[in-house]
């Protein structure tokens, strides 16, 4: 079908987005050759969890919120632990922070490898999906699976399980990995680091549609290096504030078409969290190997083409494998697997960098630790307005494309954000309606 959208009024509607982590649909309305409206409709579970958390004990959020997403359970665990610990006035010792960072590296490796190789690369190499791509690019897909496996192995070792890790608790961990176990995973991580460097070379050679996004970039910045397990908030326009002030800067609005809330930062139309924002605001904190890989890939101090997010994700893969090895090599054990976090009345805030961007949690506790109120702001709801803004520009410039090709490219543009909408099955079902 070569139907084009340049004449008349059209509605472009993709009912369920393939290769997006969860369920969502895209709706584009074109009137007289002008893009009139773009909507990304998503069905998102964190809101349900906020209600579910009220009345539960202060020790439960790491376990409960990890169930929100099978791809980034560690992010939910880490942000919830930080928030509860801040409410209770506890900071975990340095060695437990390092172990959290190590676990988080596992999640980044697993999630980035999945997205780069199995979800996003097929777009750039011209395949409908990874299964078809694997037939022609076996070694490439095998490299992706090997990386993902290394991430899973690290999550299993530190977190107890790869999906929904069970070893994480408020105050630290139930059990510490032994130095012997940690060193046992070194060869796999060394291979993964080599694979990650190869990944940057691969994706840097892809063809990228021309596009520059002008949105404000928002990420954490931490004295402990490239942001994963904590930090304070910085933005590309020079704003800087503590995580405790997140709620005064970021306002969420309910939008009728979606059960997700859309976030605004200080009244701005949209902002971006995730790899591009992290890189722009923290590239100086990448390890030497990741910095070298970024330079070789042609990345400057910032990258504003959302299609090149796959390159930045690959650079972060180098950093996460390298950082994991660095932490393991420096590991000297911990005095105890956790510190006590006694309940007290208070409000606590926590933010960490999920693979897809900043994930914020806020809890209000009663004196006995009962949760009175919970707020979770996931990265995808923060990026939602930006995804729509990108699509508006992108579609307008490409209205002369055949409809099927335009839909394919729109999906690719949505996948730039690696949106994690929920954990569910999804099917592509496209309908185009002429108005």
């Amino acid at each position: 079908m070569t139907h084009k959208l340049t004449q008349g009024d059209h509605v472009l509607h993709v009912d369920n987005l393939a290769r997006v982590e969860g369920e969502g649909s895209m709706h584009v309305v074109v009137n007289d050759g002008l893009v009139a409206d773009v909507e990304l409709r998503i069905f998102e579970p964190p809101r349900f969890f906020e209600a579910f958390l009220r009345g539960r004990a202060w020790t439960e959020p790491p376990d409960i919120t990890a169930r929100i997403c099978g791809i980034c359970p560690v992010a939910y665990q880490m942000s919830s632990c930080l928030a509860i610990e801040s409410a209770c006035g506890v900071t975990v010792p340095e060695e437990l922070r390092l172990l959290r960072r190590l676990l988080y590296c596992g999640e980044w490796i697993e999630s980035h490898a999945l997205h780069i190789y199995l979800l996003h690369a097929p777009d750039f190499l011209g395949y409908p999906g990874a299964i078809e791509m694997a037939a022609d690019h076996g070694p490439v897909v095998e490299r992706g699976l090997r990386l993902k496996k290394a991430g899973n192995a690290l999550m299993t070792l530190v977190g107890g399980r790869a999906i929904h890790p069970v070893n994480v608790r408020v105050g630290g961990f139930y059990r510490l990995p032994t130095p012997h176990e940690l060193h046992g995973i070194r060869p796999m991580l060394e291979r993964a680091r080599d694979d990650a460097v190869e990944t940057v070379r691969l994706v840097a050679g892809f063809d990228f549609p021309d596009m520059v996004q002008h949105q404000e970039y928002v990420a954490l910045r931490s004295p402990h290096g490239y942001p994963l397990e904590g930090g304070s908030v910085v933005t590309s326009t020079g704003r800087a504030f503590e995580v405790a002030d997140f709620g005064t800067h970021v306002v969420e609005e309910h939008v009728a078409r979606s059960n997700a809330l859309h976030a605004r930062l200080d009244g701005q139309e949209s902002y971006v969290v995730g790899p591009l924002a992290r890189y722009a605001l923290n590239h100086d904190q990448l390890g030497p190997l990741a910095q070298e890989a970024a330079r070789d890939a042609g990345l400057g101090d910032e990258c504003r083409n959302p299609f090149q997010s796959i390159v930045v994700r690959a650079v972060e893969l180098v950093h996460a494998t390298d950082e994991a090895l660095r932490i393991i090599d420096g590991w000297e054990g911990a005095a105890a697997p956790f510190v006590d976090v006694p309940a007290r009345a208070g409000i606590g805030y926590g933010a960490t960098e999920a693979p897809r961007g900043l994930l914020y949690h806020r809890y209000e506790l009663a004196e006995d630790g009962t949760i009175l109120d919970a707020t979770i702001v996931p990265p995808t709801s923060q990026n939602q307005r930006s995804i729509e803004a990108d699509l508006r520009v992108f579609v307008q410039d490409r209205l002369d494309l055949p409809r099927d090709e335009l839909v394919r490219q729109c999906e690719q543009a949505i996948r730039n954000y690696d949106p994690c909408i929920s954990c569910a099955t999804h099917f592509l079902d496209l309908t185009v309606e002429n108005r």
């Binding site: 694997a134 076996g138 790869a162 099955t425």
Partner: protein
């Protein structure tokens, strides 16, 4: 018969009927000690579990619109699995069907690969198995034994 016999239970034990694949694998392990049984909550882990000469039975929840507890046995060597976007059921990021078809594309299928699926009713967080699905576990284990013992397969 060459190679080992491997039964792999897939599914997230914390999401309702998604746990059924793991339950069936455990039932098999309890009844027949000679079978190697593995459990994965991420199906992609299964890719590295087998060797080319192995006989592999994958057990998992399926969601095909059928009656909860219905058992489907699919010879995955003879027949491609419907990947419908990605996952063919369950709550995994990379579903069983996608993993099997990736293995086919990569030339990494084992000698025999049979999928024993149990139709699920719900994938609710923290929920136990639905009654009809729990009741189907013994029959699903029998289907696994039938697949292992298939006389047609003897060389």
């Amino acid at each position: 018969m060459t190679g080992q016999v491997l039964v792999i239970g897939l599914g997230n034990p914390d999401r309702g009927d998604d746990a059924v694949g793991v339950q069936v694998a455990r039932e098999v392990a309890a009844e027949r000690l000679s079978v190697n049984v593995l459990e994965f909550d991420d199906p992609s882990e299964a890719l590295d579990a087998w060797e080319p000469e192995d006989t592999v039975i994958l057990t998992d929840a399926i969601s095909s619109g059928g009656v909860p507890g219905d058992i489907q046995v699919i010879d995955a060597i003879a027949q491609k699995l419907p990947t419908g976007g990605w996952a063919a059921g369950g709550t995994h990021a990379l579903g069983l069907a996608a993993v099997v078809e990736l293995a086919r594309s990569l030339g990494q299928l084992p000698r025999r690969l049979v999928v024993v699926g149990v139709e699920a009713a719900q994938f609710d967080h923290g929920a136990p198995l639905s009654e009809a699905v729990a009741a189907a576990v013994p029959a699903a284990a029998v289907a696994v034994f039938d697949a292992i013992d298939d006389p047609e397969d003897e060389p």
